[in-house]
Amino acid sequence: MKFLTTNFLKCSVKSCDISNDSFPLKYNGETCKIEQTPLDTVTTTNPADGSDIDEEYINYEFLLGIIDRLDWNAVLEVAQDLGNTSLPASKPSLTMDGDFNETSADHNTMINNNKALLRDLQILLMQTNIVEGDMKCKNCGHVYYIKNGIPNLLLPPHLA
């Protein structure tokens, strides 16, 4: 399960719907095993001499679209659960260049101005996976397990 998902996943139990404590889940630092997958590479052609260039694949468009939706406090909380306390205290903001709008030229400027930040976000959100472990709802205390990277969110009949 990607770190990204921890920023959206909450407790399934119906009576936890209205609680502010059902998100984020509390990840167990003792049991959670983290794996980082290397960035994919994409091969493009060098326009100068036609040779192949290997470039890191970063899903810029997705990241630009998701950044507003990130709950940074939850990012910090879960990162801390998992033993990472080195993230910036507030959500990094994108460097805007003039009036950002959706035209593709501005879009590219936006990406170019924020490459390092977007690469960091790609690694944190998309390449960092919880492969084993468990997490608990801070409201009802229900524990969910992750095995082989798959969280088991099924509720027993008495909680469903």
Binding site: C11, N148, I150
Partner: protein, 207 residues
Amino acid sequence: MSRPEDLAPPEVFYNESESSKYTTNTRVQHIQAKMTLRALELLNLEKSSFILDVGCGSGLSGEILSEDNHVWCGMDISPDMLQQGLEREVDGDIMLQDMGQGIPFRAGSFDAAISISAIQWLCNADTSYNDPKQRLMRFFNTLFGCLKKNGKFVAQFYPKDDSQTDQILQASKIAGFSGGLVVDNPESKKNRKYYLVLTSGSGSSDI
């Protein structure tokens, strides 16, 4: 052919051998791919999005989402199907979940949601504690909540009969969705396909 929905609950029906049969059957793959592409067309997304795949199975539909650079989370109730997904190393996050228990994501998580050949299972009562009406409502209420405002949900499904379609549509409306049903190849009993096309939030529907 009998409907799998009538034989046993999905987690029982899609056991290891059925799951691998289903996933490796090229005809099934082809049909699933075609329906996923059609669902994507109906979603009409402009850019790389965060998508929920309800009843993702082994990730056949998810792989098509990945090809378009979308990032997805998939839920399925069959561990064997998810195992197939693991073996095929799908890019999306897959999780063991029962859609009738609700979609456990915070408000406004996803740009859109899709479902291929799954939501008719909600209409089944497999156990004494499974009330289809309640499960449908729980599903649509929580799905509505976890979609961004004006986020779309497109679901291809196999209704048993018209009353099942009505039941599904009605539950979606009560949850606050607008939209309706798109039927492809309505004249062909064999190739007819049903797509539920819904938008969260009011606003006028374009179908």
